[in-house]
Amino acid sequence: MKYSIFIGLSALTIITSIAHAAEVISSTEALSNTPHIRTLASSCAACHGSNGNAISGNAELAGMDSAYFTAQMLAFKDGSRPATVMHRHAKGLNTDEINLLADYFSKQNRVPGHVPKAQTLKAHHE
């Protein structure tokens, strides 16, 4: 019984310290992982895949260097980098959002995007 209390106390110490660490992280580095930025970043998924893991050759944003990301977006925004569609998105965002998106995507793990397999439409479907 004493043994289990000891484990419990140790666990509590660990939890407290990790919680403290998380607070420190959230106040400095994780500004990009707010609901505002995570939802904005996720709206890029239609062309750039889940968490920036694009398939079909579009720019892979997951793990992209944040300075490079910011430079490209600002170039789309001011027109110095020509684009078919990205200038429309870049112009709609403010510089803070671009910086936070850069930070957000730079921290995403690069994983192979999943490709769903097309299948034969069943006879009973609408």
Binding site: A22, A46, L121
Partner: protein
Amino acid sequence: MNNFKRRDFIKTGLGVAVASLAPSLLVSCAGINKKNANSIGRVVIIGGGYAGLTAAKYIRMWSAGNIEVVVIEKSSQFVSCPLSNLVLGGSKTIHDLTFGYDLVQKNHGVTWISDEVTAIDAANKKVKMKRGEVHYDRLIIAPGIDFMYDTLPNLETTQQEIPHAWKAGWQTVNLRKQLEAMHDGGVFLINVPRAPYRCPPGPYERVCQVASYLKAHKPKSKIIVLDANPEITSKKGLFTKVWVEMYPGMVDYRPNNIITEVDVKTKTVKTDFETVSGDVLNIIPPQRAGKPAQLAGVDNADKRWCEVSFITYESTVVPNIHVIGDAIDSNLPKSAHLATNQARICASAIVELMLNRTPDPAPVFANTCYSFVSDNEAMHVATVYRYDPNKKIMIAADGGGVSLKPSVQEGNYAQAWAANIWSDVLT
């Protein structure tokens, strides 16, 4: 007693192990342990389309699996409306656009119920189905659209003869077969319902796809477009130019033309102004929020669409019921990309609310919508939308707009759009 404590610590320890992989989630886990180590609640989602699936996946992801998600869907397969006009043009088959629901369930731990909703008991937070019922803490209704046959009642039972093909599936294949059977010199007659309807540029893209097929195989044929709206509702300049330059003499566009009567046998339609006959008819009825929204009584805008908060997508009339996708009353186009954006804002807000935190008070998202004008050329409309706290709606930000002209490059981007959104939504 000590055993209980020990078990609690073990569960907490597991929470920490998960959280240490993603430090930002630790706050979620701390919040969860106060209530219940396994789940902080259950979200039931009605509808497995673009909106419903996206909400399911992102609630699971952003709650680190701590919110239970149950999806109720009556179909056993997902068929994409985006790209389905290419089936009419001939560059895709319906089977290229059909997918299973297995990966989103397996990858994200979503509970799946294949059933049809029969009633929604908002007072007791229960959804009743043909074969059972399920309790929810929050309900998301992503019902898509339903057709309004009140002005054209005979069309409801004659969809085999005159398909709408406005929900991708066998009707899309049926319409393609009718085009294949039509003689060279025939007339394809299509209407555009009065806005708002699903996919504003969709009918005009369809005209391009049918024109592309006819130009190659039946060049003497014509297309008559009866538009209930005063003008082309999306990408107007581009579509007008494409019809003149790519399909000269083929498209006869007639605005302000609301169909009042359809004779199925003679394939003749009447409008306030004229009587028009065709060889293949494609009548797209006016639309409203899908049946589950009607059952819940959340279709409070003219008994057609659902009014929601654009911060949480919660219904303005029934608490704890959220509505996303084409069914909502909104100034924004009813597009698949916007449906997924609404789904993620809603998902994020629900995660925050269930953790007793405040959702993002000013969401921002982007919409990109491509239309194919031939088998390989496409053009876009793209806009960032930003929440306006005074007007309480999403407003188009600066910089949005359309392509200068359609191109093969944008055709490739449009194919990539589909591949990526399918990957995001279905896996």
